[in-house]
């Protein structure tokens, strides 16, 4: 079923070949730079997400690729061809808009056929391809309806089919699931993943939802203030954030700022501003190892173990582990897990995620937090 649709892209799909290249792209609106010198390679066939808070320039970046905006400076290539000066209607990309932008005066069928009719394709082929696209998004029974007669999720599928039927090199998705409720969004996430695998074309999705980006993407670019903060796989982004912004934007995290007191190729000793001595595995700062200066330690809440009795007295092997005593301040029940706030003796509070509510339901008295140096990450702070 997907064979027809994916023909164009799978024929030429070479491992590692690039679909989109951005070279020092700038975009300035009325003296304000929305995109500042972005260098980005998007590989053929990957599911690529551009993630960032609102106003970070991610939608502008997508619109630059689609051709609705022209770069103020820099170059943009799709399949090794410069797209500067090429209008949107001559680019091998199609877009799914956040608002779907369906043509309300046309039926579902005619919406999907719009691009093919513009290409002056024969009636028979249009019919075949529209039918195939309808099947792909499971909307065959609704072909004769008007967009206003469809639910939000169905409209989303029409928008997808309308873009995919043209067999674009790259499918651009601008916050495609933003307007759907949570349950439908989860469904559509799976649906998008399925389509991506089935069609084997490059998907570029803009989103502000970090969870969505993490679960769906092959690679993610985190954007802030018009610049790329980090580009990498979801696990690189989550486990090895390269900047404070990325660490805080992706998921919950505890930030402990302090100063490096001693370093060793295998370990860093950091004294936090509140006096705790924390051992952290060393990290690269640019090309070299971080050995001195102020750092911010990032510690994911789920990496911390919560114990009711002092592990040192229990005779646990704590060599090289970080262990502190504290007390439970509050708990927040979240269904699959519990978030606890622990106040250490120094007064610092830590967010700790526990898998089951029973372990923390009624804790009075001291608790102990425990984590290994491998589970936290020191990022250099500017002096």
């Amino acid at each position: 079923m997907a064979q027809l649709l994916s023909q164009t892209s799978s024929d030429t799909n070479v491992q590692g070949a690039l679909d989109i290249e951005l070279r020092k792209v700038f975009k300035v609106f009325d003296g304000e730079a929305a995109v500042r010198g972005v260098d980005l390679d998007i590989r053929q066939g990957e599911f690529f997400s551009i993630l960032g808070p609102s106003g970070c320039g991610k939608t502008t970046l997508l619109r630059l690729i689609a051709g609705f905006e022209t770069p103020t400076a820099g170059d943009l290539l799709i399949r090794q061809t410069s797209m500067v000066g090429i209008p949107p209607y001559r680019r091998p990309v199609n877009t799914v808009f956040q608002s779907y932008a369906l043509f309300s005066h046309l039926t579902v069928e005619d919406n999907i056929a719009f691009g093919l009719k513009i290409q002056k394709m024969s009636r028979g082929e249009i019919q075949a391809r529209v039918f195939e696209a309808l099947r792909l998004v499971q909307l065959e029974p609704l072909a004769k309806r008007f967009p206003s007669q469809l639910s939000g999720g169905q409209q989303q599928r029409v928008a997808l089919a309308r873009a995919l039927v043209n067999r674009p090199t790259v499918l651009l998705l601008d916050e495609p699931l933003g307007a759907l409720d949570l349950k439908l969004r989860k469904e559509m996430q799976l649906e998008l993943k399925r389509l991506h695998q089935q069609l084997n074309i490059t998907f570029v999705m803009v989103t502000h939802d970090q969870e969505e980006a993490l679960t769906m993407s092959d690679r993610i670019a985190v954007m802030n203030g018009g610049k790329l903060e980090q580009v990498g796989t979801p696990s690189q982004i989550y486990d090895r954030p390269q900047s404070q912004f990325v660490a805080e934007f992706i998921g919950d995290t505890n930030i402990i700022s302090g100063k490096i007191e001693g370093s060793h190729p295998a370990m860093l000793w950091v004294k936090s501003d509140d006096g705790e001595k924390i051992q952290v595995q060393p990290t690269m700062s640019g090309q070299r190892l971080l050995t001195a200066g102020r750092v911010a330690i990032n510690l994911r809440p789920e990496k911390i173990q919560l114990l009711r009795s002092d592990p040192r007295q229990d005779g646990m092997a704590l060599e090289g582990m970080n262990c502190f005593e504290g007390s439970l301040v509050s708990t927040l029940y979240l269904g699959t897990h519990v978030n606890c706030v622990i106040r250490l003796q120094s007064g610092r509070t830590l967010l700790v995620r526990q898998p089951s509510p029973e372990t923390v339901s009624k804790i009075a008295g001291p608790v102990y937090v425990l984590w290994s140096p491998q589970d936290c990450l020191a990022l250099a702070l500017p002096e």
């Binding site: 689609a66 609705f68 209008p87 949107p88 209607y89 990309v93 199609n94 877009t95 808009f97 608002s99 932008a101 369906l102 043509f103 309300s104 005066h105 719009f114 691009g115 513009i118 290409q119 008007f146 967009p147 206003s148 409209q155 309308r162 873009a163 043209n166």
Partner: protein
């Protein structure tokens, strides 16, 4: 037995209802009186002598009225068709492009609706004299285009500003050139607004006496001009009948415009 109240609820009319009723009678009572006398058999308006449709029948034999109606229709159709094209383009241009003096232009579009007709009439006449343009039916059409443009542009602007800005982008994304996206996407979306704007403009053009009488060339006589000249000589009941017909036709046009607008909004309510 359950205590079902045998008493009828006391009929209470709120002051708002009184006020509304008063307003409506103030607006429509004269028209009702007019309609009443239009079916009066008597040639003298003041007394009722019986029901008759003879005043209505008269129009079918009145060549002058028919000629005037024809002139009015020509003027209205001419000016509305010109205004439909330019008013639409104006609204699209104003909402989709940014250019120097755009805000000023946007406000100036609606000026003809605010400026008194007499000012437009005198200004047009003076202007035509200044450029030594002989008065004709063309000059009436030209002066009617001025306010018809405003009606069409107003209706289309309202619609276009409520449209998803991404619609044309979506069309271009799917391979349509800017012209194709205008013709295949924007125009069909705007069509109901264009029609309803045109109907309003049409009614106003048919209705206009002042501007037409200032800018009409010799031999051109629109319906309002004909009615006015007849009233000056003698007030005959056939004018009552004609007025009733005009009111009905106008009301129908306005209702039609409103219906088209309403239906299109229902359909597009996504």
């Amino acid at each position: 037995m359950p205590p079902t109240s045998p008493k009828l609820p006391k009929l209470q009319i709120s002051w708002q209802a009184w006020f509304t009723g008063l307003m409506f009678s103030f607006m429509y009572l004269p028209i009702l009186v007019l309609a009443f006398y239009s079916v009066n058999e008597s040639a003298v308006s003041a007394q009722w002598t019986g029901f008759s449709l003879k005043w209505y029948a008269r129009f079918f034999h009145d060549g002058r009225i028919q000629q005037a109606l024809l002139d009015s229709l020509k003027v209205a159709l001419g000016s509305v068709s010109i205004a439909a094209v330019f008013g639409t383009l104006m609204a699209v241009g104003l909402s989709r492009y940014r250019f120097l003096g755009r805000d000023l232009y946007q406000n100036a579009v609606y000026l003809p609706l605010i400026i008194p007709d007499i000012s437009i009439a005198v200004a047009t006449l003076v202007f035509l004299a200044a450029i030594s343009m002989p008065l004709s039916m063309g000059t009436i059409v030209a002066s009617h285009v001025v306010f018809c443009l405003s009606y069409v542009s107003l209706a289309v602007s309202t619609r276009i500003n409520s449209l998803d800005r991404h619609l044309e982008e979506a069309a271009q994304d799917l391979g349509a050139t800017p012209f194709q996206s205008f013709r295949l996407v924007l125009l069909p979306q705007l069509f109901p607004a264009i029609v309803s704007g045109c109907l309003l403009a049409f009614v106003c053009s048919m209705d206009d006496f002042l501007i037409a009488s200032f800018t009409a060339g010799g031999g051109i006589n629109t319906l309002p001009m004909e009615i006015y000249s007849r009233i000056r000589t003698n007030l005959t009941p056939d004018l009552n009948a004609l007025s009733v017909l005009l009111i009905l036709a106008s009301a129908f046009a306005v209702l039609l415009a409103e219906f088209i607008r309403y239906r299109s909004e229902q359909k597009r309510a996504i």
